[in-house]
Structure formats: C-alpha cells, structure tokens
C-alpha cells in the first residue's frame, strides 16, 4: 500500500491543489504520510479504496487475534512461579513481540480510520458502505483496545510482583553487598531525554487504553513527546496520545512514584529488557531466584514476630482475667467472714441457753412464779 500511495502523492502534488484539508491538523513531524493519505483518499477510485480497506481490515483483525494469543501465553507465563530464570527471558521476549505488534496494529488502525473518514466524504450517497466501513473500524478498534487493556493488566501484575519482592529483598538485604540491587533508578531514561522537544508531559507513557475511545480526536494540548525514530504514525497531532504506545516505554523506574508518572502503568519488564540490551548484563535474572529464598526468610521472620506479639496479647488477657478474679475472691472472703462471725454469736447464745437450761434455778424460779400466779388467780376467783 505504501507504494501505491507514493505514486499517487507525486501525481497529486503535480496536478491538484489541496481541495480540502484533512480534518485534523497535522503533526509537526512526519506529516508526509498524513498528507499523502489525505490526498490519496480524495482522488483514488472509490472501489479500489474500499477493496484496499477491506484487505487491510482483514490483515489487522488477523494480527489482533495473533496478539491476543500471545497475550494469553504471556499471562500463563507470568502467573507461573518458578525458580528458573528462563521464564523471564521468555516473558520479556513475548512482551516485546506483543508490544511491537500492538504498535503496528495501532498505526494501521489509525490509518484505516483516517481512510474511512476521508472516504465518507466522497461516499456521500453510499451511506451504507460508509457505515459498514465505519462499523468495521470501530469493531477492530474495540478488539484492539481489549487486547491492549489485557496487556497492560499483565504488565502491571508482573511489575507489582517484581516490585513487591524487590522491596522485601531490599528490606532484608540492607547492607549485603552480595545481592545486586535492582539498579533501575540509576539508569537514565532512554527516550525521555531525547524527546524533550515536544509535549506538555515530561515523559512518554504507555497510554494504550486511553486512546481507545472510538478514535475521536483528542485535543492538541495533550501532545506527548514522541521519541525519535518512530515511523508510520503520521495521522496528525490528534493521534499522538495513541501513538505513544510505540517504543515509548517509561523511563527506568521500578517504583511508580519515582518519576511521578502521569499514567499508572509501570513497565518494569520493558525496563529490564532495555537494561539488558543497554548494559549487556542481566541483573534481573539473578534477583528472581534469590527472591524466593529471601521471601522465605522474610516470611519466617514475620511469622515469628507475629507469634511473639500474639503471645504478648495472650499474657495481657491472662492478667486482666486474674484481676477480675481478685474482686470475686474478695467477696467470697467477706461472705465467709460474715458467716463465721454470725455463727460465733449464735454459738455463744446457744451455750447460754444450754447453761440456762441445765441449771435448776431458772427452772425453779419459773415453777414458783407459775404457782404464785395460779394462787393469786385462784384467790381472786374465790374471794
């Protein structure tokens, strides 16, 4: 397709003035392709365009399917946990391949979308065809968005796991010089520095999903810096946010807060791979097997610590319970003391009673008094 366009462009450049501008203002870099596509769309025959578009769409959808398959593989690999570091290289391979295919697809989808937009104008009466092509493009974009979203999620998961273990390891291995600390923070961002010529944001970020919203042109104020050496994404400045998916991996920074990224997509696998390419030394490979051992040690220490804390709480509870008992014991003692006193009193009383009963005097006194009362009563009655 590129060849076709070139000849067309030359023809047009010689013959026609620009009848109508493309709807979006062109980017300052690589506007060649965008102009070419604009003019190409205007003057080619409708049928040819349609055919080309459909074939492109077919190719794109096939690629999307392939990318989804690779994504599934990557997911499986990332979820696996093993001591061997071979998986890391496989994972990184996959990641790179998926990334490049995603970038590719992105660009092609953009082109296709543009083409459609152009065609719709020429296709005034063939509204059905125009609609069909637009629907097709929208569908492809949706699928692509899903794949990209899944990719991002996997990367995030991977980075989270690695960051976790890295943090834990750094915690444990404070002063140990044997352990190669992940030197991600020390490496300068590769593309961030070279692309400072444009953009409001400081760094390129992988912004796949945000650009997936049905291809509406975004405002030109959100231009991101584009790294040098990128090709094929010349659809005008409006698509810049989407185009940041290519090669625009974030600068080295395993920890997201380090560079204050706009987007929350940490890209440690990319960084790792870049590091390997740059320094020719795979430090990350070494760390992953170690992390198992260190993680185990950390776990053991944590378990011990939590056990000790638990023991402490148990002792505390014990103390509280025994304290409560103290009060109860006090009550029991009081009660028993009372009972003791009462019984002593009653003992005394009863002994008195006994002595009284045993002595005769009281008895005689009572009998005598009874007789006296009887006599008195008798005398009163009779007399």
């Amino acid at each position: 397709m590129a060849e076709n366009r070139t000849t067309e462009f030359l023809n047009l450049a010689r013959s026609l003035p620009e009848a109508s501008m493309p709807p979006k203002p062109p980017a300052s870099a690589s506007s060649l392709a965008s102009n070419a596509s604009g003019r190409y769309a205007q003057s080619e025959s409708a049928v040819n365009q349609l055919r080309d578009f459909h074939s492109t769409a077919g190719v794109i959808s096939r690629d999307i399917a392939g990318t989804s398959a690779m994504l599934g593989e990557l997911t499986k690999l990332v979820r696996q946990k093993s001591l061997f570091h071979d998986d890391t290289s496989k994972i990184n391979d996959l990641v790179v391949r998926i990334k490049s295919s995603i970038e590719n697809l992105n660009g092609r989808l953009d082109d296709a979308g543009h083409q459609i937009a152009q065609q719709k104008r020429t296709f005034g009466k063939n509204s059905q065809v125009g609609q069909q092509t637009t629907n097709l493009v929208a569908q492809l974009k949706e699928e692509f968005g899903q794949a990209a979203g899944g990719f991002k999620a996997i990367l995030q998961q991977r980075t989270d796991v690695m960051k976790e273990t890295d943090d834990r390891k750094r915690q444990i291995y404070g002063a140990d010089e044997d352990v190669p600390v992940l030197n991600l923070e020390n490496k300068p961002p590769v593309y961030g520095e070279s692309s400072t010529s444009m953009g409001a944001m400081g760094f390129p970020t992988l912004d796949l999903t945000s650009g997936m919203s049905t291809g509406e042109p975004t405002s030109s104020g959100s231009q991101l810096p584009r790294p040098h050496g990128t090709h094929g994404y010349g659809d005008g400045g409006m698509r810049l946010r989407k185009t940041q998916s290519d090669m625009a991996a974030s600068p080295y920074g395993g920890t997201p807060g380090y560079y204050g990224r706009q987007d929350s997509t940490p890209l440690t696998p990319y960084d790792i791979q870049r590091m390997e390419q740059e320094s020719g030394q795979d430090q990350m490979m070494q760390l992953i097997p170690d992390q198992d051992y260190l993680q185990e040690r950390a776990n053991a220490m944590e378990t011990v610590e939590s056990n000790i804390v638990e023991l402490g709480t148990i002792f505390n509870k014990l103390a509280v319970m025994v304290n409560e008992h103290k009060e109860m014991v006090q009550r029991v003692e009081d009660n028993v003391d009372d009972a003791n006193a009462t019984i002593n009193f009653s003992l005394n009383t009863l002994t008195d009673t006994l002595t009284n009963l045993q002595s005769n005097r009281a008895l005689m006194l009572k009998i005598f008094s009874v007789i006296v009362i009887f006599i008195i009563t008798f005398i009163i009655f009779v007399a």
Binding site: A300, N307, L311, M328, S346
Partner: protein, 201 residues
C-alpha cells in the same frame, strides 16, 4: 524423612572450565553399600553442573529425581551446595550454606583459591555441619524459636482455659458463701429467740 545427603564447598569462577570441588562431605547411609559410589558420583556431577549454571551472588534450588540441590555461589567465587531430600526446608539449607562457606573461609583463608585437585582440602567441620543439620528444627535458630513459640502458645492457651475455669469456680464460691452467710444469720436469730424470755416449751 528429612535428611541432608551431602555438603560440598566448590571453587568456581569464569576462568575455570569446570567448578572444582574443594571439599565434600556425604551421608549416604540410607543407600545400599553398593549404591554409594554411584550416588556420590552423581552428587559430584550435579554439584559441578549446577554451580556452573549459577550466577555469582545467586542462590538456586534445583529438584532432581526426588532430591533437591541447593546451590549458593558467593561473589568472590566460593560456592557451596547442599543435597537434601524434598522435605528439607530451603531456607535452612541456605542458612547452612552461608555458615559453611564463612566457616570455610575463616579456616582455610585464601588457600582455596589455588585448589585444583577435587576434594583435596580437608574440612572436618563439614562432617560436623552435616550431622548437626540433619535435623533442621534443632540446627536452625529460626526454626527452633518458632517451635518454642508454638509450644509456649499452646501452654498459654491451656492456661487461659484453666483461668476461665477458675473464674467459674470462683463464681460458685461467691454464691455459696453468700448463702452460708444468710443461713448463719437465720441461725443466730433462731438461737437468740430460743434463749430469750419465752421459755415455755
């Protein structure tokens, strides 16, 4: 059964084609008498291969035919492996390795760097370590602490149960002593009444 089969101290480095085993201690009593030499061969071979494949400053645990080989390559080129069965905790194995290598360096100094004949350096402490670490629960401090803590927690739980029982019994006692006190008061009243003036039977 948790056991350690072999300990080895290896000299390795990128300038050597094959790592050289400076010292090897084995405990092969679980194998039949005639199997022992071949098992030892296997162990040395595995040790050398795995050490060769391990990066400097890295630890690895590789499972092979029901046994695990834990390898540790120090950054100065000294390495060690522990061959154990599947149940031995990896963490303890690496602790053992670290200690072993340090001990070795302390004893042998730098002489291991020029060692070229396999198993030429005598290191009796290797045997000691091997025997000591046969029972990881006793040799590794962390495991020991963990075990003690577990025991203590158990005992404490039992104590708390007894204390709860004690509480219930104390409650009982309180109630009963209350009753006792009331009863004795009644008794006293009765006694006083009996002793008082109304003596007519």
């Amino acid at each position: 059964m948790v056991k350690v089969l072999a300990l080895s101290v290896v000299r390795t480095g990128t300038e050597l084609p094959e790592p050289i085993i400076c010292s090897l201690a084995t405990e092969l009593s679980s194998f039949g008498f005639f199997q022992r030499p071949s098992v030892k061969e296997m162990i040395t071979f595995l040790t050398k291969t795995f050490i060769k494949r391990t990066e400097s400053g890295q630890r690895q645990s590789i499972t092979h035919e029901g046994y695990v080989v834990h390898c540790y390559v120090r950054s100065d080129g000294l390495a060690g492996t522990v061959t154990t069965d599947m149940e031995y905790p990896a963490r303890v194995a690496f602790v053992l390795l670290g200690q072993l290598l340090e001990d070795f360096t302390a004893e042998a100094g730098d002489s291991w760097k020029s060692c070229t004949v396999p198993e030429s350096m005598a290191y009796p402490k290797g045997e000691e370590y091997l025997q000591k670490y046969q029972n990881p629960a006793e040799a590794d401090k962390v495991t020991k602490i963990q075990k003690d803590l577990d025991e203590t927690t158990q005992i404490l739980h039992k104590t708390i149960d007894s204390v709860l029982e004690r509480g219930v019994k104390l409650d009982n006692l309180v109630e009963r002593s209350n009753d006792l006190s009331a009863q004795s008061k009644m008794f006293y009243k009765q006694a006083k009444k009996t002793n008082s003036c109304c003596v007519i039977s």
